[in-house]
Structures are given as structure tokens and as C-alpha cells.
Symmetry: C2
Subunit: 187 residues, 2 copies
DNA sequence: GCTTGCCTTGACGTTTACGTAAGAGGTATA
DNA sequence: TATACCTCTTACGTAAACGTCAAGGCAAGC
């Protein structure tokens, strides 16, 4: 069965709001030095605590500690965002780590900076290639759609799902907003 | 060290041409019913025989046999192309299998076709999302480039790689055409 | 004081997509 | 005839990215 990259465990049972109310009362939501618990980030980005600890293990994150407990800064949060996006575009964790390291390289070594620049440009070029692949794949699938639509128009026009209505539903679903009746139909 | 998805073993030591000369003499290269040995496809797409056998195991390919040996048709070749592109855009093999199966669904079951259509549209939407991710990642990296360029212009302008020359070299390298001196510098 | 719930650190298990070796057979070349 | 080089199957190994217990700590609430 086809599924969107829906993780086995969804950590969205409680909202970040709820958590903030119980745990984050001494923080101002608007202040940039706000900090987050592991769960808050898990809820917000729909990942598991195990994943965050794993990223830490691999040197992609290094949250502060409050006693034993991890405390994530806004900077950690930003890094996490980059990590997850990196994953979505196909980077491995070690690649992502390298990129993040390159961003951090504050020691200002000019040679290092030059190398970083080169690597960044390589990455960009690779991503452009990947974009072309995606465009190609989309085109393939759209051709498939056309074929199927033709086939259905000839045999059972009643089964033709209306594209517009469907699209809006799908978009809502991807945004994690609604669980519409059509979702159930998708089986 | 950052590397482009360069497989551990490159099966490009012999060209497809060479193979065709020794093995494919009774085939006309222009005729669409041309067939291929496993190695020919490996060379052409730079994958290992193991990978092709693996795809077969998983039901993504089903080449004919000449005795024990696999014989790939142009249709198999086309499927392989789709498989590899699917991989590059992040589909798992089982997802790719499903998509290929949907393409094949010749039994004409209208309900099946309707479902296929729906899944295709889901895939397309997911790919569009992914493209946005890629655009975002490219933007991030370009910002990083700008930062680094600024930093270098201030400290060591001599170390600034010229973007244009570099880009052409990189493109050639991605096309697997040239192994330029700059490649060695990349280390 | 006890349960509930979230946190921690191990440590072993799992899936995907092959790699890699082992052993055997077919064919072309020296 | 020997050698090299391709092919096959079987089977165990592996890297990445976590999942899944297990065992324990700390705090809140009843």
C-alpha cells in the first residue's frame, strides 16, 4: 500500500501549545532565546525522541542540559529544520552533518571557507540535477494519469475522480489539517 | 568527505559498444526488439549485476532467459530507467514496484484504474512538495555561498574560485565525460 | 507514599538495498 | 588443453536510520 512518508509513531497527540502551557510557562513565546523540550520539538516536527537523540549521537545536534534533560535552543530548532529538509531532499545524515559543519565554520580559515564554497556549489548543482529528475518523474506520472483518464472515460466515466475537488482535499491532508471522508476512501 | 552518489564499483570499464560488438552482432541496434545482456545494461546505467538481479528478485524486472542467462528487452530497459529515476527522486523499491505495476495493469479493471489514477495524483503532489523542498535547500545553500564569498572577498580574494569556469567543469564531471585537473583539487 | 508520566541511558532488533564471497557452469582465446 | 572471462545461484555481511524494549530517575498529583 502506498503511503506518504508517515512515520510509524506520530508524536502529534498533544499540541505544542499544550506542552508550552504545562512546561514552558516561564518562557515568552516571542523571545528568540526560547527553549524547547525534546517533546515539544517532536510534536512540532513529527519525529520521535529517538530520532533527536540519534541526531545528537551523530553530531548533528547538541542541545544543552537541565540536569539530565535536554534543552533545545532556537538555534537547535533551526538546525533540526535544516536536518529534516536535508533528509527530504535525499541527503544522508553524514552529508547533512558536513553541511551544517560548513555553516558553522567560524574559525574563519580562508582555505576552509574556500573548500566549503566549492562543496556548497557542488551540492547546489546536484540538487538542480535532482530537480530535473523530479520534473521527469512528474511528467511520467502525468502521462500515466492521462492514459488512465482516457481509459476510464471510455469505460466507466462515473469512476473518474474530479481532479479539483480531490486536489484541495489532498492539499489539506498534506498540511495535516483535515481528515476528510475521502481519506478513508483512499484505503 | 562529500561524494556524489558514486557507486563503489563502476561497471563502465567496457563500453556498451564494445559489448555489442562481441555479443550482439546478430542484433540491429536500431531495431526496437533489440535485447541486452545484463552487463550491457550495467555498463549503460552504471549499476552492478547484483542490483539488477535484486530488482528482479523484488519483482521490478523480469527478463527473459537464454538458457541460464538473462536477456533484457527494450521494455526491460525502459523499466530499468524508470526504476533508477524513481530511486533518484527518493522512492523505495517497493514504491517503484507499485507504480510500475499500476502502469502495467492491463486487465483493465476500471476500479483498479481509478485507484491507480488516484495514487498517481498523490505521487505527483508529493513530488511537487519535494520540489519545493529542493528549491528551499538550494536557496539555503546559495545564501551560504554568498556569505562565504563575502567572507573570502574580504580576507583572501585570491582563493575565490571563479564560478563560471568551475561550473562548466562540474557539469562535465557530472556527465561523466572528463576527469579534469580540478577534480583532483576537490580531494 | 504510590502511581502516572516524561525523561534518561544502554543495547539489541529491523528494514532497505544492495556488497561480497563461494562454488559451479558455459564459451572464447592463447 | 588451459586459461580467462562471463554467467548463474546461494548465502552471509553491511551501512544507514532509526524502532523497541529494559531498567532506572525525577516531578506532579491523588
Amino acid at each position: 500500500m502506498i503511503e506518504f512518508s508517515r512515520p510509524p509513531q506520530s508524536y502529534a497527540s498533544r499540541t505544542a501549545e499544550q506542552r508550552a502551557n504545562t512546561e514552558g510557562r516561564r518562557f515568552d513565546l516571542r523571545r528568540p532565546e526560547r527553549s524547547f523540550t525534546i517533546r515539544q520539538l517532536c510534536v512540532e516536527f513529527d519525529v520521535t525522541p529517538r530520532a533527536l537523540r540519534f541526531y545528537e549521537d551523530k553530531g548533528l545536534l547538541f542541545p544543552a542540559r537541565d540536569g539530565m534533560n535536554r534543552v533545545y535552543s532556537t538555534r537547535d530548532r533551526a538546525r533540526l529544520q535544516l536536518i529534516l529538509r536535508g533528509k527530504r531532499v535525499g541527503f544522508s545524515l553524514s552529508e547533512i552533518r558536513e553541511i551544517l559543519d560548513l555553516y558553522d565554520e567560524k574559525d574563519g580559515g580562508a582555505v576552509q571557507a574556500s573548500r566549503s564554497l566549492k562543496k556548497f556549489r557542488e551540492r547546489i548543482e546536484a540538487l538542480r540535477q535532482q530537480r530535473e529528475d523530479i520534473d521527469g518523474a512528474i511528467q511520467n506520472l502525468e502521462e500515466g494519469c492521462i492514459r488512465l483518464e482516457r481509459q476510464l472515460t471510455e469505460s466507466r466515466p462515473d469512476l473518474l475522480p474530479k481532479a479539483e475537488a480531490y486536489d484541495s482535499v489532498l492539499r489539506a491532508r498534506l498540511d495535516g489539517q483535515v481528515d476528510s471522508p475521502l481519506t478513508a476512501l483512499a484505503e
